[in-house]
Symmetry: C2
Subunit: 373 residues, 2 copies
DNA sequence: ATGATGTATGTAAAGGTTTACATAAGCCCC
DNA sequence: GGGGCTTATGTAAACCTTTACATACATCAT
């Protein structure tokens, strides 16, 4: 039904446009021609020069009212839209933003895209996407978009530039990182306050009475993850709990690494009562691993994640995690980039949004049976 | 660690490139200039005309071997890449494909995107994305990409053209639909054989012994859904079961509509033993609705979905559903579009991939307690 | 009346390609 | 040895804009 209405609307719109054209310029043969109208067609009909047409469009205050009117009419008649190719060629800069992620299929990615696209389109920009699949060679390929001015700016979804540091540092296009600081780029970024988010998670676990809280995650390669670890450390410290490296495990943020961490932990002499995971994927892996050993969550162990991926609400039990306000991040990132494109200088180098704790069912007080641990 | 390796690789690559440049052309001042090299720079260094350079690149067989060699060297020295803007302007067609979906955030969408992007890039095309959010006005906005030659072709994710029928039919760019036939466009499409997929699902339910199988779905507006309904009807017919419209409910493919359908069904005098849902969202809704009423799946009711969205495996119990080979669909769709772009005529008007049944845990034999139904 | 100032518009160059057409050279055959 | 053919390359126009500069005209102060 939505679709039918939509069709009808669009139909009305198009016919009304057509009739205007027919009435005002009965014998303009190029009106419905196969080739789109150029600025020259508009100029001819408006009886002005092409320069005036261009000015009427881009610097309206510079042309006389009467002329502007004629030009606007001519534009309506011809259905002219300015050829973005020619414009970009002349201007030496395009109206496209390249968005590069390691993996387009990532659910974190697609949600951000919504915010990015909305903001971009609102300012007359389009977005171009690419994914590197963690292959530097492919990252390099995307550079051609900048050499040829096909893209004016870059949004990066990865914590590291997908091309060689040396090549790019000098001639890096205006860029903004998303989700996490860019390791080797020194470019501004928009994300969530990872430290604060992690702190919220660990504080929840502490409030529930947990004292032995494992941290499963990759704390070295990705800055966002390092910061989450910092939140964990700070929370424990504030609660007067000495760090226990036996229950801090490295992983790479995949489901598999979460499972693996559980196996490792069970081979050691100390078990935690709660697992704080660096992201939701890891948390899901931990839950699977624990489930496979016959434990119940949250009765036997509590688990927290980070990101609030779409799956988090469907897994059983629904995962308590820290939400990334994805659409908002996308919007802000694009806004920052557009500002960069016009001003040249970034207003800020780091925009941190507030992460919200989403409490679901994967956390409870530590079970008394296990309190001897 | 992956990231570190990648950085290293890219770094090596860039330095080696630099040294080549330095050695071969010690005093070409424009080598590392801020402005990228043009075809003219290459021509000057290779001591040929720009026409020859262009030919050496695009019609290598038309230039002498010795000349081609000189040109290639000059290209290596300057790091020249052809300016896509200028090229598109001249050629009157770009190397971008516009991909429009109602919602970029849709998980079905992002996975297809991977196939689309890979195939496009392999042929030198980039992809541009947009989403209409079911708003015809916004669909119309994307037309400007074609008027101005910013995009050469269109991939559509929706079963209906997002702009007025009349306006577009004549000057529709080369287009391919994905997932389902385009209602009002008469354009080729790539998807899964919906009828066969639905048939597989209903056959599974029948094989388990179900006789009263509800169909929850939207059979009017989307052609793909209509076909799934046809598979359901055919399966029942083949099993000699007369259709029972009391257990066929309309929905709009959302989680909410699945829940709603359950409520409706419980107000009627007939209950099914199984729910065949038009897509996974609906199935998830049904499972939630059934769960809220205290029923266990698959003990009390069996449920099937369609699509195999990423959540399907995480919901409890994991959903038995029909998989769309998303990446393959994307690849095929893009291949078809590119073919269309060069040949002008589509090889086929409909490419249907084989849907696979993914058996998980949401289906079992109907419980005996309920057999009196 | 004259010169200065300001406003509105037009002219033409530039941006980087591709390609039709022209040119030049090499070769072959009668 | 000259006409015709093939092959390799060059010249210049065209694609559609934007904008510096030039022009023309009106206004105003002297």
């Amino acid at each position: 039904m939505i679709y039918t209405d939509q069709l009808k609307h669009a139909f009305d719109l198009s016919t009304s446009l057509c009739s205007v054209a027919a009435k005002t310029a009965p014998r303009q043969s190029q009106v419905s021609n196969s080739t789109p109208a150029t600025i020259e067609d508009v100029a001819r009909i408006a009886e002005v020069s092409i320069a005036t047409v261009s000015r009427a469009i881009h610097m309206p205050e510079k042309v006389a009212n009467s002329t502007r009117l004629k030009v606007n009419q001519a534009i309506a008649i011809t259905g002219y839209t300015t050829n973005a190719m020619a414009r970009s060629l002349r201007l030496g800069r395009s109206n496209m933003i390249l968005v590069v992620a390691p993996d387009i299929g990532d659910p974190n990615f697609s949600n951000i895209l919504v915010g990015l696209e909305n903001e971009a389109r609102a300012h007359g920009y389009g977005i171009l996407i690419g994914h590197t699949q963690n292959d530097a060679q492919r990252g390099l390929e995307y550079l051609k978009f900048f050499n040829s001015n096909q893209a004016a700016g870059l949004i990066l979804f990865t914590g590291i530039l997908p091309f060689g540091h040396q090549t790019m540092t000098a001639r890096l296009p205006p860029s903004v990182g998303v989700f996490e600081p860019v390791f080797n780029g020194g470019i501004p970024y928009v994300g969530v306050d990872d430290t604060e988010g992690a702190r919220k998670a660990v504080d929840l676990l502490l409030a529930e009475g947990h004292r032995k809280i494992a941290f499963i995650g990759d704390s070295r390669t990705r800055l966002a993850y390092t910061r989450r670890r910092m939140g964990y450390d700070a929370g424990l410290d504030a609660a007067g709990i000495p760090p226990d490296t036996r229950i801090v495990l490295e992983g790479d943020g995949t489901i598999e690494s979460g499972r693996h961490a559980v196996e490792q932990l069970f081979m050691r002499d100390t078990l935690p009562t709660a697992f704080m995971c660096v992201n939701d994927q890891t948390a899901i892996g931990v839950m699977i691993g624990l489930g496979a050993r016959g434990y119940d969550i949250p009765r036997d162990f509590s688990v927290t994640g980070f990101d609030d991926v779409p799956q988090a609400v469907f897994i059983s039990p629904p995962l308590t995690t820290v939400r990334q306000p994805r659409t908002a991040i996308g919007k802000q990132a694009m806004a920052l980039l557009l500002e960069l494109l016009s001003d040249g200088r970034p207003a800020e180098t780091e925009i941190l949004l507030r992460p919200d704790l989403v409490v679901r069912n994967s956390v409870s007080a530590p079970s008394r049976n296990w309190s001897k641990r």
